[in-house]
């Protein structure tokens, strides 16, 4: 059953100053006709490079932004229309873990108070029960009383991220949005947080929407993967399939670009300085947005922008590429 559904979601942001008389200025499409659904109890990962719109998707799902067009549906209800109490109720069911743990904690708030805050806001339990609950939550993420009494700057990056996870769990949500949960962390700490997240998902029957630029993290955690490129979903399917038999040339390039920690598989040095590719075309062009970089671009790719379609032979694998259809 789908817990969260994105249905043709578009989000635009104004670019630069609006017109002199307050008329509509230029807009940038951060998210462009994105549709996917997240199954209950699973991890759906969105992967892509900077500026591809994946963080905007996370903020839309967390109801921190409202879609310009299309619908974000959670458990059957339209998230974009929630106001007041209904929005507060939604926030009990959907939580978010942010990319930069140092920035997502109030520097002047002690750890225990940060974890208690959601309980306080939603009026859950008396002071004694809240305190007990905070202790339990900190223990669940591997922290103790000592850390609870500290300020964020007295903690390491990994500990801060644990605090944020404890805080997200406080309201016993169904969906947790993980926006680059480990990219600000050191390599050795990443593994700790990833295994913690996996354990918590199993124990609490959580659904994850994972946003990451890191194929490794996605490969470790995801059940389904969506690949985003310049605001659009260009490929989507089961993680095993997308990561091992990618259909879109962009996904192929993305996977190939990850450096392999094995000197035996080092590519030969190029004979000349490899040049920087040309800047992308503007959105107004009708060409496929990847055509200028695509090693396989055909004439049809410049004439017509491909839509997201089922890849041959698999109903659950879609890609937006003319060459992947058939």
């Amino acid at each position: 059953m789908s817990l969260l559904v994105f249905d043709g979601v578009v989000k635009t942001f104004p670019v630069g100053r609006p017109g002199l008389l307050g008329g509509p200025g230029r807009v940038r499409r951060a998210v462009d006709e994105v549709s996917f659904s997240v199954e209950r109890g699973r991890t759906y990962a969105l992967v892509g490079e900077s500026g591809c719109g994946k963080t905007t998707v996370a903020r839309l799902a967390a109801a921190l932004l409202r879609p310009t067009r299309g619908r974000v549906v959670f458990a059957g209800g339209d998230v974009g229309r929630l106001r007041g109490r209904a929005l507060a109720a939604y926030r009990r069911r959907v939580q978010m873990v942010f990319q930069d743990p140092a920035g997502a904690l109030d520097p002047r708030q002690r750890v225990a108070s940060a974890v208690e805050e959601p309980l306080l806001i939603h009026g859950l339990g008396g002071a004694a029960r809240r305190r007990a609950e905070v202790g339990r939550l900190l223990e669940v993420v591997g922290l103790g009383q000592r850390e609870g009494a500290r300020f964020p700057h007295q903690l390491s990056g990994g500990q801060k991220q644990r605090v944020l996870i404890a805080r997200a769990l406080a309201l016993q949500p169904e969906l947790v949005i993980l926006d680059e949960p480990v990219s600000a962390l050191d390599v050795s700490v990443r593994a700790q947080i990833l295994t913690l997240l996996t354990r918590l998902q199993r124990e609490n029957d959580l659904t994850y929407l994972l946003i990451s630029h890191d194929i490794g993290v996605v490969g470790y955690s995801a059940d389904r993967v969506g690949v985003m490129h310049r605001g659009r979903l260009v490929e989507e399917g089961p993680a095993d399939v997308v990561l091992s038999r990618p259909a879109h040339p962009y996904t192929v390039g993305l996977l190939r670009a990850v450096p392999v920690p094995d000197p035996a598989r080092r590519p030969p040095p190029p004979a000349g300085p490899p040049p920087e590719p040309p800047e992308p075309r503007t959105d107004s062009s009708r060409a496929c947005l990847y055509a200028h970089l695509c090693p396989r671009a055909a004439r049809s790719c410049v004439r017509r922008r491909p839509a997201l379609r089922t890849v041959a032979g698999r109903a659950d694998h879609r890609a937006s590429c003319h060459l992947a259809e058939d």
Binding site: F98, A104, D106, R108, Q109, E117, P118, I121, L171
Partner: protein, 272 residues
């Protein structure tokens, strides 16, 4: 480095300000004479045993007058800064947090007030309403708030970009909760610093206005007006200018030291 220098600076500043406050509060007990007591026989005496700061043309004891001047100068500066603080913080926080038309309206107002050099605006007001304490208060309050307003607005805007505000929204916190719990505690330090430095500016401005004869009117005397009146006797009795001038400098230095020291201590960018 900077942090280490901050503490002694703040302490030195606080000491100087305490000295000035002490003079203001305990003036009547410390003063050897009543500040307005005339004694033409004692006219223009240089500093000496009987009159540590000398006497003026009317034979009034300058030391006593400087002590009493502290009351006037401090009372006016602190009240004016309080007005500036309340108006500036309220408008700045509202403009920064709510944005939109609130921000537009407040910032236009700030632009207009800031379009006047501060003392000039004060002169205009003093001229219109007539010189005296009320117009000085109004004038200094008016020139003081836009700076604080801009500062608070800027800090709030920067805070709004921080993830922890979004994080608070994501756990279901409302606007007032966020303002009270997360925004205000985080702008408290810059407000404190700016307010401390602002008191110094107000002291200087009050002194300038009174020096121009547009502030406190006789027989009341602030340090600025003492310099104003002393100027006529400069060649014969420079102490009439030097001591009140020194008093201004001590008070301003105190608040600048305290403000700069606090900035070094509290500014997170300087932390290691």
């Amino acid at each position: 480095m900077a942090r280490a220098a901050g503490l002694p600076m703040a302490v030195a500043g606080a000491l100087l300000l305490t000295l000035v406050a002490l003079a203001a509060v305990a003036g009547p007990w410390l003063a050897p004479a009543h500040p307005d007591e005339l004694s033409l026989a004692e006219s223009l005496r240089p500093p000496g045993p009987g009159h540590p700061f000398g006497t003026d043309y009317f034979g009034r004891d300058v030391f006593s007058r400087v002590l009493y001047g502290a009351r006037v100068s401090l009372a006016i500066s602190l009240s004016a800064q309080l007005i500036a603080l309340v108006v500036g913080v309220a408008l700045g926080a509202a403009a920064g947090y709510f944005g939109g038309w609130v921000d537009g309206a407040v910032m236009r107002l700030v632009d207009v007030v800031m379009a006047f050099p501060d003392l000039l605006l004060a002169i205009g007001i003093a001229a219109s309403l007539g010189p005296g304490v009320p117009s000085v208060l109004l004038a200094l309050g008016l020139v003081g708030w836009p700076g604080l307003c801009r500062l608070v607005r800027g800090e709030v805007l920067a805070l709004k970009e921080r993830d922890f505000i979004d994080a608070a929204r994501a756990i279901g916190a409302g606007d007032l909760w966020i303002l009270r719990r997360h925004v205000l505690p985080n702008v408290a330090a810059p407000i404190l610093i700016a307010t401390t430095l602002g008191v110094g500016s107000r002291i200087l401005q009050e002194a300038s206005l009174s020096f121009l004869g547009l502030g406190v009117q006789p027989p009341a005397a602030s340090w600025g007006s003492m310099v104003h009146h002393g100027l006529r006797w400069l060649s014969r009795a420079p102490w009439l200018v030097i001591f009140p001038g020194l008093a201004i400098a001590v008070a301003v230095l105190g608040s600048n030291l305290l403000g700069d020291g606090l900035r070094d201590i509290l500014d997170p960018r300087l932390r290691d």
